[in-house]
Symmetry: C2
Subunit: 150 residues, 2 copies
DNA sequence: CCTCACTATATTCCATGGAAGATAGTTCTC
DNA sequence: GAGAACTATCTTCCATGGAATATAGTGAGG
């Protein structure tokens, strides 16, 4: 029988280190953190993205997301425009500079990911991993569990 | 072909939420964070554990580890005793209260882990996940990559 | 044995996230 | 259509981790 505690430890340590390597490259080549890259990727990937949408997608609080968007806006990569549906909220979008940065950083990110996620596994093992993790994520999200306060 | 970016996103979000659920239970029932639980588990699992060993195992910096141990020591769960091999370092150990707490918290942790990691997957899928993640972790560690500065 | 490079830990400063509260806008009810 | 309840975001305060630095202690040469 598989030791859950061991799998948990391996998962967390793998991810911590993966996050670190990805961050090193993004930082060196584009001046970005992994978190910022993911903000840009999600904002760039959907029209009419609100702070709330971003927070749910990233699984952090709305407050923290709001602050993160402040920083990206100050850097000139993201803009808030009024939401015509609801005057309380803004719609987020990439600026031209933000889009260019995302386009430049994406190959860097994908290369590292290939090296440390794709290459070590057989295609079949990678597919199985992808399916398992998608299911596990879905299980938690369907149960609406592990959400931060926001 | 499997989308690496999607697997990465699922991995990170799954873990974030898993960490949150585990933390909620540990906090509610034992007044512990997941990080503290892992400190206790590792310290309790090896004799003669040094700050450096703990830092490498957890994949955070030595400085952060030192501060974490300070907090556990202040709480009365961990003790530093002089390392007879080397006067610069201390050996860490659980106090009686720390051991009791770890023993009490372990079943809580394992139950949640079973619910959100073991139960959703078939035994075979869990084994495959365990093997894949162990290999991925090992790949990064063998390459000595993704280590924080410490 | 002295000095220098190195190692183990501790400490300081800064950035980021969570929790809770504040604000403004929206919706539901009567 | 006025007020209560709710929602979306922002803001403030606090805890934790990284990076850089400080402080001992150790070991290798000469």
């Amino acid at each position: 029988m598989t030791d859950h505690m061991q799998v948990f430890a391996d998962l967390v340590r793998y991810e911590t280190r993966l996050y670190n390597v990805l961050g090193e490259r993004l930082r060196a080549q584009h001046g970005l953190t992994v978190g910022q890259f993911e903000f840009l990727r999600i904002i760039g990937g959907r029209d009419d993205c609100r702070v709330n949408d971003l927070a749910h997608e990233i699984a952090i609080t709305v407050g923290a997301t709001s602050k993160g968007v402040d920083r990206l806006e100050a850097a000139g990569w993201v803009s808030r425009r009024p939401n015509p549906q609801n005057r309380r909220s803004s719609l987020l979008g990439l600026t031209e500079a933000g889009r260019a940065l995302l386009d430049a950083a994406t190959p860097t990110f994908e290369n590292e990911l290939r090296t440390w996620l794709g290459d070590p596994l057989t295609p079949k093992a990678l597919d199985q991993l992808a399916a398992a993790v998608a299911l596990l994520r879905e299980t938690l999200e369907d149960a609406r569990v592990g959400m931060p306060t926001g």
